[in-house]
Symmetry: C2
Subunit: 248 residues, 2 copies
Amino acid sequence: MKDTKVNAAILIIGNEILSGRTQDTNTSTLATWLNSIGVKVKEVRVIPDIEETIVDTLNVLRKENDYVFTTGGIGPTHDDITAESVSKAFGVKYEIHKEGFKILEAYYKPGEFNEGRQKMIWMPENAELILNPTSGAPGFSVENVFCLPGVPSIMKSMLGGITNKIVGGEPILSKTISLKTVESEIANSLTKVQDNNKDVEIGSYPFFHAGKLGVSIVLRSEKQSKIDECNLQILKFVNEKKIEVVDR
Amino acid sequence: MKDTKVNAAILIIGNEILSGRTQDTNTSTLATWLNSIGVKVKEVRVIPDIEETIVDTLNVLRKENDYVFTTGGIGPTHDDITAESVSKAFGVKYEIHKEGFKILEAYYKPGEFNEGRQKMIWMPENAELILNPTSGAPGFSVENVFCLPGVPSIMKSMLGGITNKIVGGEPILSKTISLKTVESEIANSLTKVQDNNKDVEIGSYPFFHAGKLGVSIVLRSEKQSKIDECNLQILKFVNEKKIEVVDR
């Protein structure tokens, strides 16, 4: 099994997220999936539908990360400029993808594969298709950049088709311990546990939910044994402080 | 009224968003509020709780934007490193904020203002407080950088207190037209309307919701008259194509 620390960036392309009109949920879906295949999300950026911004941002992210996943901007309308921008970022032609053309030609009824729909198979030269089991129009990848649609249900349905193209490290495991307390009561003890367990990522998150108030401590590591050891050290001080462990 | 195009960046600080465990909703809340006071969100970044990353990212964003809003990392635990990182980004001392100290000393019962809680009023030198009507511990601002907590309900409750510190342009207005159609049916007509109305931002977003399938066209501009004109041009082709306008 190879070493871990395979990194990815997520690039959300779309004015509708920046305006606040649409709540992004693709980050959470992608991050959860990536964790499960041993890829750690290092950074997320949300940017507008502006070609220069997409080109420049993508050229930074694809060099700094093992993988980049973009969502949004691959439909048929004027504001869908991801495929053309990715072509420019890689300095390759923007052209009709022959295999993609055949797929959509077969998908639509005769006469329905119009100019608007044909825009969806204009892609960077030599792009590899990402099949779309939900609504026909494929996404694509170029080198380490994977371009997915913005509609969450369609995006999610396409991940299964690329899992085998991603070479991750060990899956990142996590354990959550929820406590009926406030952060300041456990801050010092938790700092000591973190100092003793440098290679476990320990997060502390207050929650206010359904009338319950508490703190969730989240332990993350590739090694179950390290999470278990850390968990024991936390339960030790929780027990000493007589803090109640709760479901969350 | 000053000209528009006042820009902001949102910087979400927190491993819990990057791991997919927590769904960010602060971006949408902040963006909606900023639009209403005439500030356009140019970029959002989500980064981990790593000091160097926070310092470097903040130093880029605060120079490129009129305002930066950070969320997360200002609580009492070891993973709350925003205030110290912001101090380093600005090259100023990280110290106890005297006014903040008095506020929390009065907020807690005698003896409860412990070391963990005192961490929450360590801030960059000369920071201005952002009052917290929900849970006591204030946020702070330094120059054009406003640091808010990550818990959505608390974050939201603090925005009213800083609205008067933000000098925006004209509020950004929007209109949504929802149609019972698919994007490819309207793509060409919509491109023509966008070409004729360069200073209106026109977005096209397919929706699949409660069994309804359609497209929402969103028009955004500071000028109501330009939105109205654009709307008329869209309704003209919608009418010609006999497309049904629907509620969404």
